[in-house]
Each structure stands twice: as C-alpha cells, then as structure tokens.
Symmetry: D2
Subunit: 384 residues, 4 copies
C-alpha cells in the first residue's frame, strides 16, 4: 500500500435507520452534517451521497440551497471530501417499473432529468465520480420488456448524460454498479461482466467505468476478486463498494469483514498490488439490532478490518515460504507470453502430441501448500 | 418461426455413458457413426463434436484419417451437418491447472496447438462455428493466478487462433462458452457478460461471439433470457447450448424442458422473434438411470419440447388479450427513444420535478395480468 | 380432488402496499373489511391474519373490540372463514434481537404474552390453526447466541403456549413455519426438517405441526414436494403457504404459479392425492408496479393456476401412457416392503453378491419418458 | 479443548485420484495400508472407510480375508483406530435409482444385504460408528417416487439394520449423513433437520444419530453451526465430516479451512465447548492439480487449521473484552428460562403492552462490536 487508503462512507450507510422488509426502523435518522463530523472524527477521508440523502424529496430551490450550503460548511470544517455522488432512481414510486428502462417514456425522461440535477450537485461538491445503480432496471415478468429494447434505452440514457457532463465541463467520470437481482426479480447488467460489455457499446466509453460491489457479485456466487480483476485489466475500476454478503441471499450489506475473510484478503491484496487509487468506499450498514453507538462500532470495524487485511497481504507477500510456494505453482510464469510471434503453428501443433501432453501432466501445482499459507497468514500463525 | 428449427446434438450428449463423480458408467459407449444415423432417424439436422469425441487420445495419423473418413461417410449418407466443432481442453490431466491460462507455459502452448488441430478438423467437416469452453481456465486458490495475467493469456490464445483461422482461410467464427464454476472453483469469463466484454478487447472482435448455455448462466441464478438478449443486442449470439438446470447446483445438463418451463418459454420466444438462424443445439444428457432406449427418449424429448414451446410462443403472441396486456404494460413504448435529440436538458430537468414524479407514479403496469396470460398459455388454458 | 379446494389469503397479502427495502409504498392501504368483501366476490373461502393486520399497534381495548366486531360482521356477511391466525413478532423494534429467542428475557416474556393475546383473538375468530413464523429468531453474529440455548428457549415458549391453549380449551393446533434466512442472517428452524424434529421434542407434540411455504424452502434450493412429502408422511402438514420464488434470492412471495410450474405441479398433485384437507393459503403479494386493480389480478391468478394445475394433475394420472410409464419406472413397487420379516439376513447378504448386483444394473428406469409426459401434459400437448 | 482432538481421514480422501466429471484421474491409486502408515506419520488418530475402499468389488471370500487381515496389521503396527465404517451404496450401477429407496425391490434387498456385510466388517475393525450416506436416495423426476413411499422404505431399511446390529451384539451406533443434492437432483433427508426428524420415527431412535458434513449443509446455504447446534441439543451428534465448500455449488470437499474461516471458527468453538468426543473426521480431498506430495500437504493443512481455530476459539473466550461484549449482547441471559412456571399468563400479557414493547426496543445488542472481536481474534490482531 503506497500510502494510507482513503476510506469513505455513504451518508445512507451510517444513516441507515434499521428498517427492513419485515420491520420498522430501530434507530433515529442522522443529520448529514453530523454524520460528516462523526466520520471525520473516526478517521474517514470522505463521504458519498445520493441526491436525496442530502436533499429531501420535494424541497424547494431555496431549501435545497440552504441544505447544500450547510453541508459544504461541514465538509470544509472537517476537511472531508466527496468520494462519489449518485442519484436515487429507485425509491420513488414513479420508478417502480424502472427509471432509464421504464416502459413509460415520461418516467424515462424524468429519470434522465433527475440524473442531470444530481450531476450538477456532484459537480458542485467536487465528487470524484458519479455512480449509476440501476436497481429498478429489470423485470419480474419477462414478457413485459424485450431485453434488447431495455438495453437500447439504457445506452441512450448514459450517452445523453455523458454528453451533458462534457457540455457542462464537469470532471466527473461515470461508474456503473451492477447487481443481479433485488429489488427486481432480474436486473439488467447483472454482473461486472455485463456492465463492462455495455460500456464498450457507449458513445463515450472512455468516460465510463464500473463500481463493483462485494455483496452484488457475491449474491450470484461469483468470485469478486476475479470480477474486480477483469475490471482492473480493462482499466475500468472507477470506484468500489466494500461490504460483506453470504452467497445466494438477500442483499445483506454487512460490515466489511463480517463474511468470507479469505475472499476479502484476495480483494484487498489485488487492490493494493494494482495501485488502485480511488476511495475504499463502504456501502454497508450496521445490523438492525444496533443502537446509535453500534453504528459507529460498525464504521470503525470496516476500516480496521481493511487495514488488517492490507497488513496481512503485505506480510504474506514478504514471506520467503510464500515466494517459494508461488514459484512452485509457477505463478510468475503466467505473466509470460505463451507464444513467440507468428509462424509458430507447426511447432505448437507438435507440442500438442499425446506423449507431450502425458509428460506435461506429471507435475503438480502445489496449490494446497500455497493456500494453506494464506490461511496461516490470515490466522496469524505465520508472518506475525 | 420462419422455418423449421435445425436441431443438433453433441456426440458426447447421446453418447454420455452415465458416469458421475460418485458412480461408474451405466451405459455402453456409442459409436459416433451410429449416433449420427440414429439422430438422423429422429429428425435432427446435425451433430457437434469435440475433437476427442471422434478421435481417441493418442490415435496415429492413419487411424485419425480412417476415423474421420468413416464419420464423413455417415454424415453424407444421412445428410446431417456439423453445427459446431470444439476441442477438449479439459479432460487430459495436462490441463489440470488450465489450458490457455495454465501457469505452465508448455501447457499453454500445447493447448493452442491442440486447438489448431481441432480447427483443422472443424474446417474439414464444414462446421458452422468453433466453440471454446474454458472449463479448466480458473482457480480454487486465488493467489495462484493473478486474474489480470490469466485474462491476458486468454486473450493472447484467442488472438493467435483467430490469426490461424484467417491465415488458413477457414470460414469458421469462434464462440466462447462462459461458465461460472465446476470443474474449477471459479472459472474465468464466468457469464455471458464477462465473455462479451472480453471479446471487445480482442484483435479480431468481429470473428468472435458467444455460446451461452442454459445450465451455465442458471447455475449462477442469472436470467438466461436477459443474457441471451444482451448477446443478441450486441450481434454476438453465434451459437447456443440448450438444456435444463436448477439454480445453485452442480452442472446438471438435464433434458431441455426438464426444469423451469417459463424461463425456457421466454428463451424460445426471444430466439424465434429475433430470427436467430443458428442451430438449436442440445448440450445435455439423459439421466444416469436410463438404459439405451432412454437415451433416445431423452433426445426426442428435447426436440418435442422446443417445438411445443415455439408453438406456445406463437399462440401467445397471436392472442388479442395478450396484445392488450402488452399495451397496458406499455411494452411497445420501450422501443421508442426517450429523448428528442440535443438541447433538451432543461426540459428533462423540469420533468423530474417532485410533483411530476408523483403524477407518473399513479399508473400501474399490469404485469400480474400479463404474466398470468403466460402461465395460462403455457398450461394450455388459453390459446389452444 | 374430492371437492373444491378452499382458498385463503392473508390480509397482509392483498393489503401489501408495495414497500420494499429500496422503495416507498406504491399503493394505499386496504381496509381489512373491504379485503374480506372483495375476496368473497372473487371466490375465496377465507382469510388469515396477524394480530396487527387487524388491530393497529397500541390500540386501546375499546378500539380493539370495535375493530374486531366490525371484522366479524364482514365475515358473517360474506360467509368467509378464518383459515389461520398468527402473531406479528417481527415488525416491532422490540423484537430486533428475536422474540422467543431474544437474548433479553423481558423481550422473550413480552413475545409469549403477545402470542397469548393473539391466540385469544384466533380462538374468538374460530381460526383453524395458529401459525408461528419466527422471522426474528436467528443471528447474523454466531457468537451472540449459543444455538442450544436458543432452541431451549424456543421449546419453552411453544410448550408454555401449548399449555395455554389447553388450559383455555381452544381447539387451535399450532403450525410452525420454517425459513432459512431473511430478515435474519440465519434463522433457527430453517427448513421443514428442522421444524419437524423440533416438534418431536415438545411436551405436546401432537398439537403442533408445520406450515411449509414454497418460497422459504425454495430459497435454500430444497425440493418443496419432498419437504411437504416428509410432513405428510409424519402426519404434520397442518397448514401450507403457497406462492412462488426463485432459488437463492430474497424472499419474493410471487403469485402462485409465477415460477417453476413443474415443481408446483408436483406439489398440487401430492396435496390432492394425499387428501390434504386444510386451506390452500396464498402467502404472496402482487408486484410493486401494480395498481389497485393489479392486486386483484394477482389474487385471481393464484386461484386459477392452482385449479389449472390440479386439473392437469388429474389428467396426467388418467392417461394410459402415464400408467404405463409409472409401471416401467416401477413406481408402484416402491410401496411394497423390501423385506419379509425377521430371519432374512443370510438371504439378503446373498442377494448383495457382485454378480447379483451386476444383473440388477441392467434395467433402465424410464424416467426420461415419464418426465416428458409431465412436460407434455403441463404444456397441453397431451391429456387435453 | 480438554485433550488432543482425534483426527481421522477417510481412505477415499487421501486416496482420491483426482477424477472429476470433466476429467480423468491425475494421481495413481494409493494402497490402503500405505495410507494408514502415512497418516500415522502425520499424526492422525485413525481412518475411516467404505467397504469398497478396502475390498474391491467382486473380491472372493479368500481375497477379502487376506485384504482385511493385511489392513488390520497396518492398524496394529501404527496404532491407528477406525473412526467409522460405512458402505458404498452409490458407485455400482445397480444403485442408479437408489439403494434403500430404489423402485426395484431386488435392489433394495441387495442394498440391505450389502449394508449387513459392511456392518460385519465395521464390527470386526472396531469402528466407533457406522455411517449411512444415501447419495442415490432421491429423484430427478418427481413423479417417479412418492416421497412418502420412499421415506417408508428408508425407515424400513434402517429399522431392519438396527435389529441386525442388536441381534449380532455389535456396539455400533448409526449416523445418517444428510445431503441436499448431487449426485441426485434432490436427495431424501436433505439436511440435518430432516435426518433428525426421520430418526425420531425409527424403532430404535436411541441407536441412531447424524453425521453432518460442512459441505452438504453449506451447499444449501444453511448455517452449519446452527445445524450442528440442533444435533448437539438433541444429543444426536454421533460423527462429523469436516471440509470446506462455497454455497450453491457442486460438492467441493475442499481442505478444511479453505473457505469461510468465520463459520468454521464458530463450528470449532461449538464442538470444543460442547465437549464433543468423537473423531474430527476429514471428508475432503486435495485439488485435482496436486501431485502425490500435495495430497499430504492437504492432509497436514486440515489438521493444522483445526488446531489453529481451536486455539483462536480459546483465545477469544479468554479475552476480557469478549466477556464484556457477550454481556453487552446479553448472551448469557439466553440460558435463563423465560418464564417462572404456571400461572403467569396475565403477567405475560401485561408485559406485551405497547408501551412496554416500546421501552424494550430502546437498547442495542452490541453485535457489531462482538463480531468485530471475532474478526480481530481470527486475524491475530487481538489475543495473540
């Protein structure tokens, strides 16, 4: 880790009141400016926000100005930055059939307009990136939307909004946040892969990347480290949402580190080795049974566990037995090109002969030993 | 459906001997030429094959020639075509750490060479498409492979093989077949989305598409119709593997129609409406408890169910009450652009005002009624 | 089906306002008496209710009396019955750590007291059964509750409440409703099997059965027909919750028939063949995008699909080719005892000789043909 | 941990040759006596075995005697014990439709006879427990077996075999091993809960317990610690199978500790606190890419990780801040009865008054702080 990681929290994360599909809120709402101050005290670098986390629905222009100015003051006083801004296109009943992909053209237009307003806000607050989570872009009833039409409308919206950013001179790249399901039965752009492909079809692909979330890829049982790896490989990791989740369940958004420490170790190691420079953004919330103090236990825990995993990753990579195990697994050899340029076809075919394959099958790859080192470093049996 | 669908079966599907991780084979192997004759009798259009389905490992050049010639004779006698050819880069122990992404450079070279040989075979047999299923390209132990290196090697291999096809003048597009896991803990290019994105990074992206498989996307709980929709939208549906699967389980490869009739109805309707012209390829096998006759019950069932679903899809789209329900859901409206061109930003922002959103929230989308029509058409309560 | 099935709906199902974890309500609340009248009009047999579906939190004794009396009038006017009553031990923040298994003894006592009040209400309304859904009985943090302590407290609560019912002379059997997770990370008694076992440990096991729900078992990917089969086999199917769900997702509670028609066909066939006499209870709700009319489309759809599946099940069992396929699969032979009484050990061991096993392995079980008949009956290709 | 845990390995685990559904073996078979000697050298307490791990199918009585005697010699020489014995009722094609629940009565009889022979072997080898894993007891095609008939046959078989054990004076309790699916589409007795209930219906329930396996419960996404907790609560944990698995995937049987360290920490802590005295049995195998040496890396890793987790569990429970956090969560209070005996109904109802509930809702449960302590102990940040 070249320098201290910059930790950010969404206003909606520490502000989560504990409501769920089966129960009422268990905590009082937090004032955004108070959240800023408390997060500063805990050592966070910044915050992120939906438009409506800050500005209640239906606020007048005057109210909005007063609210934003007060928020800016809190940021200035604390020195906190805005890691990302986004727009809530899922909470209001108008978006019940989708936002950019609602079957109702009026809704689609309103969604684009609302995103423009939120971009203005993000620009004003010097947000580093603007995220789109299309939580309502999907179906329960497959016949209701031709997926090709839906993707075409999705593309139109992102293209129009990219133009808007360019025309207004905002330095505000976009990051698309995939999710497979919930709150819709099936959401369009369900994984990092689908979003990366979609970006390649845009008018301004260079301005758009992804915002992968641990919980979202994990819901589908996909390897988060592989998904983030593909985004990094493509130069498209523009932001990241950190939390924890068990596979095949409702969107849990648990404290970073609450589940699957080995997968998170792989993630942190990958981010640090790749020199990812964006904020480490926690999109999670405390358990519903926590009181106000438990919320800050939650926030502290997210950051402490990230730092502990980063430290363990460094310790792992410094161990001589790890270097030996990586060599035994031929891990560095994967970075070498397989071929030597054109004109090799006959040579390559010859190397595929049955006896050559049999000879190549003899060796082992030492992955048990290598993975046991990961476990022992994680448990502090080694490298401590 | 403009014309009769062309049904194909892999040699390995009807030839599956019923071995599984916990049990020995229950059926005798089938001779490929006999499979061709029996499939012709049942009304299939063609077959598909891995190199080693036809040519046993370690055959001499003479044996290979004799085997292929005999197979060509069977094709000519029956009039069957070859829907696709592929190469087995997963069965031999040499590929235990991967093929194109093995950490061992020698294995990677052998894998490319073996694919070249299989491309030669596919070209000779006039296969329509050449499929790559990277079943061993993955990890159980995340530290053993940097995913960025693995993707780079994967890209190199497909680029080299694309060059090979062009240099040799084969009319043989490639189709990548994604799968999330099994036999590896996590497989690279786990979903249709990841594969579509990967294709966009290739030297010759126009020559490469995807081969989605019902079972593979379903293992991860993703909507198959949405995934195929994204591939069609991108012009990248080059082949398709049809079977059935329950979510979150081992790779079942059940008879097409054995699970989730509504999702398969959506799929067949989408394929037929999109005018997909490739083979309807069954990559499935009969239950292990079947005897030789049961294998052909299985094959007949796959085709009968496809035809029945295609008929139900036509009946659905012809019903006046369905047209009305689609209108009530504003389904056709999704095909209309949301915006009217540049210069609309102020208008769009105005349409996002709180009272405008409240007004847009009043209407319903009639999806319960629409989906109930799907169910009733499927169950033959309507449209029969 | 010996007679017309009795359909019931929870007040909370048609009354669901469309709120979800990411969005606000999309529909106005319904008055319980209006729901009763509308359900009667649609042909339902009865309703079910939580205490708080009818009586708002914090109502005075006078208000409660007035509300209940008005509800009784609506029942009398329409002739509708109360299929089941239950108590809401999940919505109030007091139950955030559990109800019968909260770590706080005061909460546990309040939960038992609240259940007693709800039993009084259920008794007054002549409910057929009283259901316990322990939605908050679980953990996110495993160290917070020893599972043995939690089960002991759960048992204590059900024992105390069973005594209460007996002492007060209510004719009100209990039914426990299992669920694997959501809203808790892991819920105690996660499946039908765990609940059946728990019942066997109670003081009055004969008074307690299970209330399996399609969605809940399906979330864990278990066969619902097998789970209901085990409950029927044990004489413990006291109630049933019908809806639809995809595996490995948030609790969807979709319209009965919206997903997995084959599994529901198996379920309906089993219920009808077993002569299950209780209500067919729909615990589901309409999609969030529906308006008031869509809610009734949803309710109609649930009942229509049940009837259609029951008709298909009858048609299936009447087809001569089905009888032949069941015989080919030796299905009736499974009802015969395997052994002939004591003293057979030597004979049985002899039948396990290797050559005898080889001979037994020759036959096939014809399951492909049998299952294809299911598909073709479902799709109306046969038996219509 | 009162004393050293006794570690056992199945002969089939270290002897796994690396075959999988898509690939050929990668390792040579091991001689059982050699496995015994190597495991003794590594510090294992004992082994477990299927009849056919030791005695090849179709061995003559003489061959069998010679093989068993040679194996006994290896046990005597090394001092290793036999933790459990079981019978393979899944590998031979005769069992393709099931064993105790095959539709073919002849197969069912052969299965019972084969189990009797294996019980004789288990008795001779002084096995501590006899396990039944009914891997083939299930369906892909629901109509092929009425689940009630299947459970009745299953019960008959276990009853007959229990009688056999008693008649022959074997000191050999039974343990049923549940699994949700694979190799069958759906397996009967899919979870610990279903098996515990089934046991309660047997003629000799006191002689039968469960053998839960980490991978099997985890495939269905259930909490393993909760499942084991219910078995311990019921006095039915007769054996345990340790390995690792990701949720919603094929049966992985990874090295103990390869996945989900926190869940395994909960498991080990529970086993040690409960004083479980049986063997810690590893039912896992090394990755297919390992050579012969990697197999022993795998075996060493299983034991080392168990010991490390047991040490971490002790360290956790000794930390003063953990004791404080458990108190803050009221964890010890869950062990106290909720009620004070009969005659409390009015008091309990009064405690359920709305204002009392509101007062009970104020407190938090401190689970974030408690779980963060688990994470920090696991990562060695604390208690080391």
């Amino acid at each position: 880790m070249p320098s201290e990681p910059r930790f950010t929290f969404g206003l909606w994360t520490v502000g989560n009141p504990g409501r769920d599909p089966f129960g009422d809120p268990t905590r009082a709402p937090l004032d955004p400016a108070d959240s800023v101050r408390k997060l500063a005290e805990l050592g966070a670098w910044g915050v992120s926000l939906h438009d409506n986390d800050l500005i209640p629905w239906g606020s007048s222009a005057d109210e909005e100005e007063r609210i934003v100015a007060r928020f800016e003051t809190a940021l200035q006083e604390t020195g906190l930055g805005v890691g990302m801004a986004t727009t809530n296109l899922f909470g209001h009943p108008a978006f019940k059939d989708g936002a950019f992909t609602s079957n109702d053209r009026g809704v689609r237009r309103a969604a684009i307009g609302k995103a423009m307003r939120a971009i203005d806000l993000g620009g004003r607050l010097d947000a580093e990136v603007f995220v789109f989570w299309g939580g309502r872009e999907g179906t329960e009833v497959g016949t209701a939307k031709d997926p090709r039409d839906a993707l075409e409308r999705y593309r139109e919206a992102i293209n129009v909004l990219s133009d808007y950013v360019v025309e207004h001179g905002y330095d505000l790249p976009f990051a698309l946040e995939p999710k497979p399901n919930e709150p819709r039965g099936d959401i369009f752009l369900p994984t990092v892969g689908h979003a990366l492909h979609f970006i390649s079809t845009l008018d301004r692909p260079e301005r758009v990347g992804v915002n992968p979330e641990v919980a979202h890829e994990t819901m589908a049982g996909l390897s988060f480290a592989h998904g983030v790896g593909q985004a990094l490989w493509a130069g498209k990791l523009f932001h990241i949402d950190l939390n924890s989740q068990r596979i095949g369940r409702y969107d849990q958004d648990f404290r970073f580190g609450a589940e699957d420490l080995k997968e998170l170790f792989l993630l942190v190691r990958l981010l640090e080795r790749a020199g990812y420079g964006g904020p480490r953004h926690f999109d999670a919330h405390s358990y519903r049974g926590e009181d106000a103090e438990g919320v800050w236990d939650f926030a502290r825990g997210c950051m402490r566990t990230y730092l502990a995993l980063a430290e363990r990753a460094r310790a792992f990579d410094e161990l001589p037995e790890v270097k030996a195990a990586l060599d035994a697994a031929s891990t560095p050899e994967l970075a070498q090109p397989s071929t030597n340029g054109a004109g090799e076809a006959d040579a390559l075919k010859a190397e595929a002969a049955a006896d050559r394959l049999d000879a190549l099958a003899v060796r082992g790859y030492g992955n048990e030993a290598l993975d046991q080192l990961v476990v022992e470093v994680l448990l502090g049996v080694r490298g401590r």
